[in-house]
C-alpha cells in the first residue's frame, strides 16, 4: 500500500508526463539561448 502510493506520488507510473515536463524546460533554455545569441549577432552585424 505504502509502496504503491509512493510510486504514484513519485510519478513512476507516468514517465511520459515526466519526460514532457523535462522537455518543456530543455527547449525553453535552448530556445532562450539561441534567440539571444542569434538576435545580438544580427544586431551587431546590422550596423555595418
Amino acid at each position: 500500500m505504502g509502496a504503491q502510493s509512493d510510486d504514484r506520488r513519485l510519478g513512476k507510473a507516468q514517465p511520459g508526463r515526466t519526460h514532457a515536463a523535462m522537455r518543456v524546460l530543455f527547449w525553453t533554455w535552448i530556445v532562450l539561448i539561441t534567440a539571444g545569441l542569434v538576435f545580438y549577432s544580427v544586431v551587431g552585424l546590422s550596423h555595418h
Binding site: 533554455w29 551587431g44 550596423h47
Partner: protein, 224 residues
C-alpha cells in the same frame, strides 16, 4: 502543478533569477548609457532602443560566452584529467572515455536508455558527445555575437573620436576584443579550478555538488 514545480525547481529557480538579473542589467545599463550620453552632450535612447543596441548585446554576450566555455572545457577536461578528493572528478585510474559497458552503449544499453545510446554507429557517436557539441555551439555562437557587437561599439567610438575604423577581422585581433574576452575567461577558470580543489576538503550538507559531510578527504567522485 505543484509536483511539476517541485520536480523542476532547480532549473525553474535559475530561469527566474536569470531573467530578473537580465532585466536588472538592462535597467542599470540603460540608465548608465543615458547618463554618459548627457555628459557628452549626445542623444539619449529609449529603453526599447537600448535593448536592441550593440552596447547591451555586447555586455550580455561577453558573459554568456565565458560561461559556456567553462562548461565546455570542464566537461572535456574531466574526461581525461582527475583531482583526487574532488566530487567533481572521476576517481584516479578512470581517465578516458570508458568502456561501452560502463557507458551503457549499444548491446549494454538498459531498457530505458535513450534510443541513440542503443542505436550504435554515427548516432551513438553523436549522442555520446551531444552535451559537448551543444555547449560548443553556444560558446562559439555567443563569442561571435560578442565580437560583432563589440566591433560595432568600437567603430562607433572611433568615429566619435575621428579615428580610423576596423574590419571585423581587425577587431578580432584588437586589444579591445581580447581584454573583454580574457577578463571573463580568467574569472571562470579561477572559479572552476578553485571549486575543484576546495571541494576535496570542505562540505555542504545535502548538496549534490559536495561530498557527504563524513566522506573522507581522499574519496573522489562521491556526491552527497
Amino acid at each position: 502543478m505543484r509536483r511539476w514545480l517541485h520536480d523542476n525547481s532547480l532549473s525553474l529557480f535559475f530561469l527566474v533569477i536569470f531573467l530578473a538579473a537580465l532585466v536588472g542589467q538592462a535597467i542599470a545599463g540603460h540608465t548608465l548609457h543615458n547618463e554618459n550620453a548627457m555628459a557628452h552632450h549626445s542623444s539619449t535612447m529609449s529603453f526599447w532602443r537600448y535593448l536592441h543596441s550593440s552596447d547591451f548585446g555586447n555586455a550580455v554576450m561577453e558573459n554568456w560566452q565565458s560561461e559556456y566555455l567553462q562548461f565546455m572545457l570542464f566537461m572535456l577536461a574531466t574526461v581525461w584529467l582527475v583531482q583526487r578528493g574532488s566530487p567533481e572528478s572521476k576517481p584516479p585510474g578512470k581517465e578516458g572515455p570508458e568502456s561501452d559497458e560502463e557507458q551503457k552503449i549499444g548491446p549494454h544499453a538498459d531498457d530505458d536508455s535513450p534510443g541513440w545510446a542503443r542505436a550504435g554507429g554515427l548516432r551513438t557517436l553523436v549522442y555520446s558527445n551531444s552535451l559537448l557539441i551543444v555547449m560548443s555551439i553556444i560558446f562559439f555562437g555567443s563569442w561571435f555575437a560578442q565580437s560583432v557587437t563589440g566591433w560595432t561599439n568600437y567603430n562607433a567610438d572611433q568615429v566619435d573620436h575621428h579615428q580610423a575604423t576596423l574590419t571585423w577581422l581587425g577587431y578580432i585581433g584588437s586589444a579591445d576584443f581580447w581584454e573583454a574576452t580574457l577578463e571573463n575567461w580568467q574569472s571562470e577558470f579561477l572559479a572552476v579550478g578553485s571549486f575543484v580543489a576546495i571541494t576535496a576538503f570542505l562540505r555542504q550538507r545535502g548538496s549534490s555538488q559536495s561530498k557527504p559531510v563524513g566522506a573522507a578527504h581522499h574519496s573522489t567522485g562521491v556526491e552527497g
